[in-house]
């Protein structure tokens, strides 16, 4: 900036230079990103060709990259094929009947594995009979059970994951439910059905004022365990003498030797007072002139 008033003509030049530099920098940055994207796309394309993911037919690299760029438009194209629906069934004491449905988007990752996202849940409204059955459950302190298919894609395997709760836990103002679905790819491992908030014991009988389900749903997948820490590298480093042994910070003199200084100080003080006393006593015994004693004696008498 200091150069500006001196050589005003240089300013545009400098600006230009700075701009070009920044542009070139930005360009370099962008190209880096693009390369990455490009790599990814190529990888996906290559991965897709030998084994196309079941819902989406084999996509060329170009199609995939175009999908990337205009994700919204492309997504809407693919949405219909990748939406899965599965129903929730409940048991009010007389067998399982459909009670609601889940819809979710199936997302395929580069490795060919599939996961569910954007889970939505809609509950069917309770019919008159169901309300009666529910009230009966409440009276009996019975179990309210729900179930989901264990595989959202393959209806061939008719396994269900079941979860139950004491019916009396559910009613608050309305019927509050909390559903946790544990997923492993497209398999539902387990569903945990619970009430919102606690469920006290003993459970009081309580009929909800509104026969509407308030549902909260959560999808959960497995956590990855962290790798076991390995100190082998550090050990090798230490052996090679590369990693210097970190010396503890030098303590101050006081911090190091306070335990000697304090007793020493005490002894010294003790000795001084003792010496003072002795000299005082000696002075007293020797019978010094009254001029010295008088001021001492005077306050005592007061």
């Amino acid at each position: 900036m200091a150069a500006a008033p001196l050589r005003p003509r240089l300013l545009p030049l400098l600006l230009l230079a700075a701009l070009s530099l920044s542009l070139s920098l930005a360009a370099a940055f962008q190209s880096d990103e693009l390369l990455l994207l490009h790599d990814d796309d190529e990888f996906e394309g290559a991965g897709a060709r030998p084994s196309p993911p079941p819902p989406a037919p084999a996509a060329t690299a170009a199609a995939a990259s175009s999908r990337r760029r205009s994700s919204d438009a492309a997504a809407s194209v693919h949405t219909e094929s990748s939406v899965v629906q599965f129903s929730l069934e409940h048991d009010l004491g007389s067998g399982f009947v459909p009670a609601g449905s889940f819809s979710a988007r199936l997302k395929s990752s580069a490795h060919g594995s599939q996961t569910l996202t954007k889970l939505r849940f809609t509950r069917n409204e309770l019919t008159r009979d169901e309300k009666d059955a529910f009230e009966k459950l409440l009276k009996e302190d019975g179990f309210y059970s729900i179930r989901l298919p264990s595989n959202v894609l393959g209806p061939a395997r008719k396994d269900y994951v079941v979860s139950s709760i004491k019916a009396r836990c559910i009613p608050h103002e309305s019927l509050d439910e909390h559903i946790v679905i544990h997923m492993d790819g497209v398999n539902i491992l387990a569903v945990n059905y619970g009430s919102v908030g606690g469920c006290q014991y003993p459970r009081p009988m309580k009929v909800p004022s509104k026969w509407i389900f308030n549902s909260y749903t959560v999808l959960k997948t497995a956590e990855q365990a962290p790798r076991t820490p390995s100190f082998v590298d550090q050990l090798v480093e230490a052996e090679n003498g590369l990693g210097d042994v970190v010396k503890p910070p030098e303590k101050s003199f006081w911090a190091k030797y306070w335990m000697y200084i304090i007793p020493l100080g005490l002894i010294v003080m003790n000795a001084i007072t003792a010496a003072a006393n002795v000299s005082e006593g000696q002075a007293g015994e020797q019978g010094q002139p009254g001029a010295q004693r008088a001021p001492n004696a005077a306050p005592r008498r007061r």
Binding site: D141, F143, S145, S150, N151, D159, Y160, V161, V162, S163, S164, I165, K166, C169, H178, V180, H182, D184, G185, N187, I188, L189, A190, N192, G194, S195, G198, C199, Q200, Y201, P202, K220, A222, E223, Q224, A225, P226, T228, P229, S230, F231, V232
Partner: protein, 985 residues
Amino acid sequence: MAPPRHLLLILLAAASLATLAAAVYEDQVGLADWHQKYIGKVKQAVYHSQKSGRRRVVVLTEENVIASLDLRSGDIFWRHVIEKNDPVDQLGLSLAKYAVTLSMGGSTLRAWNLPDGQMIWETNLQVSKSSKPLLHFLSNSKVAKDNLVLVSAGQWIYAVSSIDGVIAWGKEFSLDGLEIKQVLQSPENDILYVVGIAGSSKLNLYQLNAKTGEVVKHIQESFPGALCGETILGSHNVLVALDETRSGLFLIEFKGESINYNKVHISDLVQDLSGRVKLLPLMSNGIIALQASSTVSLLKLKGIDGLEVIQSFEQPAAVSNALTITEKDEGFAVVRHMGSEIEFIVKFTSDVSNEVIREKINIDQHRGNIQKVFLNNYIRTDKSHGFRALLVLEDHSLLLVQQGNVVWSREDGLASIIDVTTSELPVEKDGVSVANVEHNLFEWLKGHMLKLKGTLMLASADELAAIQALRLKNSEKNKMTRDHNGFRKLLILLTKAGKVIALHTGDGRIIWSNLLPSLRASKSGEMPSALRIYQWQVPHHRVMRENPSILVVGRSGTDSAAPGVLSVLDSYSGEELNSLKFDHSVVQIIPLMLKDSSEQRLHLIVDSHYRAHLYPRSPDAINVFLHEIPNTYFYTVDIEKNVIRGHSLQKSCDLSSDDEYCFSTKELWSIVFPSDAERIAITETRKMNEVVHTQAKIIADQDVMYKYLSKNLVFVATVSPKAASEIGSAAPEEAWLVAYLIDAVTGRILHRVTHHGAQGPVHAVVSENWVVYLYFNLRAHRFEMAVIEIYDQSRADNKDVLKLILGKHNLSAPITSYIRSEVMVKSQSYFFTHSVKTMTVTQTAKGITSKQLLIGTIGDQVLALDKRFVDPRRSVNPTQQEKEEGIIPLTDSLPIIPMSYVTHSLQVEALRGIVAIPSKLESTTLVFTYGVDLFYTRLAPSRTYDSLTDEFSYALLLITIVALVAAIIFTWIWSEKKELNDKWR
């Protein structure tokens, strides 16, 4: 003994800061621990030849042990426990120098040196897998120069030199489905006869040159009926084969060129024919033995024309193999039961009607029937033939009988323990001296003389040993009464044979044993299997006078759908108080926390139809139980279907029968593991009787974390299907392990974590609020031990003191699993060096003492690893506060301190299980380890902070006190005098 509480706390703190390894000194070995060696049920036995002059026998057992036993005492000279995946099938002696074993379906041949058991050579043979490989020793002196051992398995036959294990020749018969059944040797020339059955009805006879293995001749003969494959050699050229229906015998004679045969119906010979007919391998001069379910018959062969019954013995009876006594004579033994005694009969094959020996021997009633006899002869002092025999009984024990007496017996059923429980000993009653050891005045005097000698240092080494033995015998620890510290207990063991044995923890001696009638093989050949053993009744205050009792549950067959059997035994005497046969199967046994008025613990037994049955079946029990039905849940693990299910109980069975002790169940929750990605490897829960002392953990920065303490916590580990087999079979990419923490009441998955590149075998321990599990990390090529600690976040608000004072906390609210409490999980993993066989954790009476993991290593030892090493909160540089708390700096692998081996220098061969039992003394836990061997010891994970150690010098304490008192008196007198003097001045 117990110091005041604050002192205890200080000592606890001091002990926790002490070194983490606790070991015994060399001279302390054997004071609190004992080790017993066993071999298992003997399936083959060969005696040393008389010429070798050693009175030993080499045995092969069902626990895969080869052992050399002393015939005089039954002691083990040497012993090898072979891995279970290398099953030993055959045993023989060669050259009177080596014991030769054939294992792995005939593919491994080993020779062991007889005097010391060292392996001399091992040869691997290429064979087709065979159900019954054979071992044959060439005895003919003509070919004995190389002393060939013949091994045949499937279509293969090998001749191996017994000197160095070099294969002389090998031959594969190129006939499909051929199974070699017999190898025999012609006495005259170097021709071997090999008899094999192809398909089920084609008999093949090969004549081989014994020196080269060339086929000289091959004859095939088809039979009109199929053979079941059981054949024995009746005489040198007659083969006896059982047909497929086990109702007819083929007598097959081969005379040089041709095969002649004749069929005999067994029913013509033996009248009472029921059950499965078996040929007993009694090889002798034309005598064969036939076993039916009710009789054992001796038959004499008359060429191939027919058979003649010589004698029949009522079952149970056993016949030994023939034993060559002279050139032309062979002897064999028959043992049968005669009431409470057994009869031991020896006969010669040349004159079967005559009995050489008939002796009656008394044996223990609790040993069951004779199953095997191994006969041996010796020269008596008057140069006549004497006989002795090893008997194998139903309870797997081994007895040597000679001259009408049981010379020694080994309780080898203890090598196959299935389950363990404990029982308290009776309370010492006043006025009755239970430890009446010094019964004899002379003995008493002698003992005291010895002790005096020992104190005056005049005793010799032998006498010192005698003093030590006396001290051990008379010591407190072997009394038959309950002690103050709870160290003396009865270990009650259930063995595979269905025998219940009680051992004293003091020295491991057998107090009582009982072979349960309900678990004994029935006449119809059904083999019941023992399952579990539980404490049935542990009397307390009200019914104190009654003896405690135990419950044994088994199945009346090997199949899991077989109806169950139950039996209740008195813990002090072993008497069977009650026995019951169920009309339902036993899949799961659930001991409940409930007790009826006579303090019998309630048990739920779940059958294969998910119906729960309540035991004991008494109105009292059902009254207690009915109140608890709404709060009773259980879970089942279906490994085949990969599903875990939770159930609740409903009021009554859906059966039409009005059985009020039967409850139907309702499936409450299920977790379905996808079979293509996960297989259940292990499920583990907390021990029911575990006691937790503190619910909260105070961490370094004065913060409190509440442990998630639920008895319903279940740990499940699944592995990818490819990683389910052995290590090395799966690549790291296709192997993973998923660990789950599940609440067994609601089925809620509290935590789920995936370890990539990990595979089984998985071992896990659940205790308090933590899980430790061990698996193999394929990427790091090491075993890894991971820990998960789980904390309850919903109770975290209770830290506020003000709330506590105002009573606004939720500490006193009843805990229900339906509260979805937030949990927090901390985890960490560490490398571990050893491969592990089993894992458990120490248990103490109040749960105050810190815990140790007891790890059964691959070397059959038990390693005690402090739980603090597997703490998820370890960090590389712990702060000063954390160090004070006892957190160890983070390392990548767990240290193995040689001193922390509980088994010190001993090995518990073929280790299978470790049981930790709390004693009354809080610091101490009792550890019982079993496999083929047994080992018991006491363990103090944080040192014995609540009692004085054995080495504590009471004399010094006394002297100090006396000296102090004397000093006080002396100074007092002195000061008095001084004062007086001062006053006089």
